[in-house]
Structures are given as structure tokens and as C-alpha cells.
Symmetry: C2
Subunit: 306 residues, 2 copies
């Protein structure tokens, strides 16, 4: 029997990724949408999680693709109703909220999956395996994209809790924490806040993974070529993981990668977790972002408008 799932938050990421991945996965039956603005053709649509839970509709799991600021309240209501919950990244607006949800899922005996979709990119596993056992000399993360192209009009991203440039940057950190052999620790950070905004538009981080220095540059104002690259120098050559984890090259030689299956892989994993009533909640990427806000030097940048 497929898992009866409702999708909460029908925005760009739901349309582009969640709905196609769910429709192609026989382990799930998509039975409803929860959204104030959108909906899914031929399915019932509820205004909020309360209406869904009060409807009596037979549903076992929800997947949340809403902005992070309201996600804790929705997830909490679903967990209290005994539903399994999958969360888009970042899993909530604060680290404490994620820790609270993990404890509630444990108490309720249901599955909670805090997803990091970039970890499922085609070449991330191969990069992790290649780095294991090598001596690392340094690493560099460059995550530079044009907010106006990739997040047109998404005001919430630059509001408190929206993470600003860390909304894409956390994808880089989710990959780096997965492929580097030792825990990633922040040493210092510089965050650029537009004068009229409450979230950073650019950031530079100095980190270490064990003894290996790791420099990261995140930029939300990159026009022209975009970059989502991680480069690691090792005693056995240079690893370049590019296109957000899709492509891998060792010393310039491309390693063939599989297809881009980030969301199909996430839903396959969620199906396994639901069957085992198990959770997968890794706080590390959001913790590093919170640490960057905690420790970072703040620099005022030009006002920004979409």
C-alpha cells in the first residue's frame, strides 16, 4: 500500500521538484495539497494544516515545502496528529526549533526527515568516497548566484529567518559537511547586510575541517556565469565538485556522473524512514549558519531591491 501523503506549500520548489518526484514514486500516493495560493490539479486543497487534520481525510504523511519561518508550527501539528513529516531545507527557522521537532518525533514514534537535497546530487557520494583516507591540504567553496534569476520576488528570503545568501549557501554547507572527513568548524565570518534588509546578501567564511583550512564565499548578486563549486586540494590531486554537486572532476578529468535525481532520492529515503518509523535529522548545516550569524562581523552593503 502506498503512503498517503499531503504536500504543504505549493510554490516554485513544489511545482518544480516535489510534485514530479512524488508522481513518479509508487511508494507514495499524493492525496491533498495544503496552500493558500496554489493547489494540485484534481486533488483536494486545504487552506492550512488544521483544516487538513480536521477534514478526516486519510493521510499518513506530510511533506513541507513552505518557507522556513512558519515550518515548526505546521510540523508540530502534524507530528502531534501522528503523521510522518518530511521538511524542505532549511528544516526550520532556528536550530532550537529543529531540535524540538526531533524530540517530538521521537516521542510520537513517527518519522521525521530533515532533507538536504544537495547531498543527493549526482556526484556527492563519489566525492565523499574519493576524499576518504586522503590527506587534505585546503578546500574552497564558491557559491555565487543571481537572486533575481533564482529567487524572483521571494521577499521572505531577505527577511529575518530567511537566511539571505545562506538559503543557497546552506546547500554548499550541507555538501561540505557530508564529504569532508572531519567536522567543519567556523573560525570567522564577514556578512554583508544591505542597508534596507535584515539578511545578508553576501558572506565570506573561514572554517576548518580538522587541520584543513576551508574558505567559503557566498554571493547573491552574481551576474554572468553562476558558480556552485567546491574545490579540495589533497595529497592525491585536486577534486572539483561543480554544478551544486552534479559534476565531479579529479585533476581536470571528468568522472562520469549519474542523472540529477535529488528529489526522487529524497522521497525514496523518506519512504524507508516511514516504514521503519525512523528519523534522519542532521542539524549541522543550520548550526553552521547560526554560528556565522553569531560570530560574524557585519558590514553594511548597498540597499537591495528585486
Amino acid at each position: 500500500m502506498p503512503i498517503r501523503l499531503a504536500l504543504v506549500g505549493i510554490g516554485k520548489i513544489a511545482q518544480d521538484q516535489h510534485i514530479p518526484a512524488l508522481q513518479a514514486n509508487k511508494s507514495f500516493e499524493l492525496v491533498a495539497a495544503v496552500s493558500r495560493s496554489g493547489g494540485i490539479e484534481n486533488l483536494p486543497c486545504f487552506a492550512d494544516i488544521g483544516d487538513l487534520l480536521a477534514s478526516g481525510l486519510d493521510v499518513e504523511a506530510v511533506s513541507l515545502a513552505t518557507p522556513p519561518q512558519g515550518r515548526h508550527a505546521i510540523a508540530r501539528a502534524a507530528l502531534e496528529a501522528g503523521l510522518h513529516v518530511m521538511l524542505e531545507k532549511p528544516p526550520a527557522a532556528t536550530v532550537s526549533e529543529v531540535a524540538d521537532l526531533a524530540a517530538r518525533a521521537r516521542d510520537a514514534g513517527v518519522a521525521l526527515f530533515a532533507t538536504w537535497h544537495s547531498r543527493e546530487a549526482a556526484s556527492v557520494d563519489a566525492a565523499r568516497k574519493w576524499l576518504a583516507g586522503k590527506t587534505l591540504r585546503s578546500a574552497r567553496i564558491d557559491w555565487r548566484e543571481d537572486i533575481r534569476v533564482w529567487h524572483p520576488g521571494q521577499e521572505w528570503i531577505l527577511q529575518p529567518g530567511g537566511l539571505g545568501v545562506f538559503d543557497p549557501g546552506i546547500n554548499a554547507l550541507s555538501i561540505a559537511t557530508a564529504i569532508l572527513p572531519e567536522a567543519l568548524l567556523l573560525q570567522s565570518a564577514r556578512l554583508e547586510f544591505p542597508a534596507n534588509r535584515q539578511a545578508p546578501i553576501a558572506a565570506e567564511l573561514s572554517l576548518r575541517s580538522g587541520e584543513t583550512p576551508v574558505e567559503a564565499a557566498f554571493d547573491f548578486l552574481q551576474t554572468g556565469p553562476q558558480s556552485w563549486d567546491i574545490v579540495v586540494e589533497t595529497d592525491a590531486g585536486r577534486l572539483v565538485l561543480s554544478d551544486g554537486g552534479q559534476r565531479l572532476a579529479i585533476d581536470g578529468a571528468e568522472v562520469s556522473a549519474g542523472a540529477n535525481e535529488e528529489y526522487p532520492r529524497l522521497y525514496r529515503r523518506f519512504a524507508s524512514l516511514v516504514r521503519e518509523n525512523a528519523s534522519d535529522v542532521d542539524l549541522t548545516p543550520l548550526q553552521l549558519v547560526a554560528d556565522a550569524f553569531l560570530l560574524g562581523e557585519r558590514i553594511e552593503a548597498s540597499p537591495f531591491s528585486f
Copy 2:
């Protein structure tokens, strides 16, 4: 046999609290100081942790009373040398650093104690017990002190990683997370940064503990009467915990409290942890502060000088 301990960081808190508490505790023998500026009469003093470890001096544990920004490196070196470690609050400069130290202590099989001295204040246990099982209506934290009186010239407090007004404020959060029955979650925050400083001088937080609203005000520029108070309204009356956890009153009637024994209690607990090779590391207070930086609205305040 007493535990042979070296005290690292001989500043104001070491002189006022750690040294007297250690000298009065028969479970410990204070065998050395590590400090570039101070020292302890009649004891060897080393410039840094490396010199202590290289000296061959028989030492089993260290207690760190240095500023938080350099604490991870010192603690890591001590843990790698197989020493038990006690940390002043906040335990490190970032949440990730504390999580990393906890993992290293586990791997090394030694004790790590991330202390929260205010939790040991005379009336905190009584407040927690009184609140258990009551219905909470609201709570309010007022933590207002004069930085020039309590932290004269401590520039590190207003540097990145020094936490600013959260250096005292985290004491309030350490108490609140200990006495309130449900997890404390941040809803919103306003942080005032002096134009010439990289840490907040004042903050207002809106939190919830379950359904109970909790408002917190932290101010580092309070002249005149100082306040370190937590007030909780319940269905069974009003609890007032004042003087940083020392005094407790229920509906205006003072409940008698024991003596102020914060640091003696911390060292008694550390002795137990060392004997069991066990750790006590609660990330929650620092996580809430990081969340406040992550989610908080930033407001520019007047420049500050000591």
C-alpha cells in the same frame, strides 16, 4: 586521592570564584595556572596549554576560565592529551565548537562539563520544582546590568564571538531552560548593535515554552538598580526568581534560600563526572543565543565606549 587540576585563564572570574571554590574542595588539588598575564601564588604558571602539556607535570583535569573565543582550541588540546575538561559559560564561541568538543570527549572517554553557573544559584532548583505540574500563563525575563560596573574594560565581550549583552543574558536563558517545563523556542528578536561594535548592547526576545509566551529583555546600559529577574505567572500564583536565581518569592512571600554556592556546586559536580568519566554538555542556552542572532532584527544604537 584528589584530582590534580590546572586552572586556565586567571582573570576576574578565576580570582573571584574558581580559585576559592577549588581551594575549599578536597576532591581537587590545584596544581598549576595557565595564563599569560596572571598566576596563582606558590603554583607553577604556564604561558599556554601546550607548555603545560609539554611540562610533564602530573595533571588530570583542566578548568577553562578564558574568554570563549579561544576556548575550543585549548579544550581540544586538553582532551587529546586525555585530560578531563570543565568549561566556563558560554562553553565555546560557537554551537558547532561545543558539539565537536562533546564528540571528542566521548571518543577520548574523559569527562567534559559545560557549566552554567547560574543554574546552581540558591533558588533555581526550588523554582523548577514549584513550577512542575502548574499551568503557566506567561513568563518575563529582565536582565539589566551596567557593563561598565560588571565588565570594566572587557573589550572581548563586544567583539565578534563575545556575545555582547548575551554574556549575562545567557545566564537568564540557562535558568529559564532549566525551570520551564517545556522547551524554549524563539519567535522573534530585536538586537541593538552600537554603531562601533560587533555585538549587541541590548536585546528583546519573544519566545514560547509550549503554549506559554515568554518575553525577555536584556540591557547592558542599566544604571541605578540592576535586575536579574524571572517572573512566571501560573494558575497557582506568581513566581518571582530574583538576584540571578538567588531569591525566590511566591505571591510576594519570600521562600528561604540556601547560601550562594554556585561555583562550589559546579566543582562538586565536576568531581562526580570525572570519577564516572561522564559528560554533561547542554547546548540549549548557546543555541538560543545563536538563534537570536540568526532570526533577530538588527537595530543600530549609539556608539559605545567603556
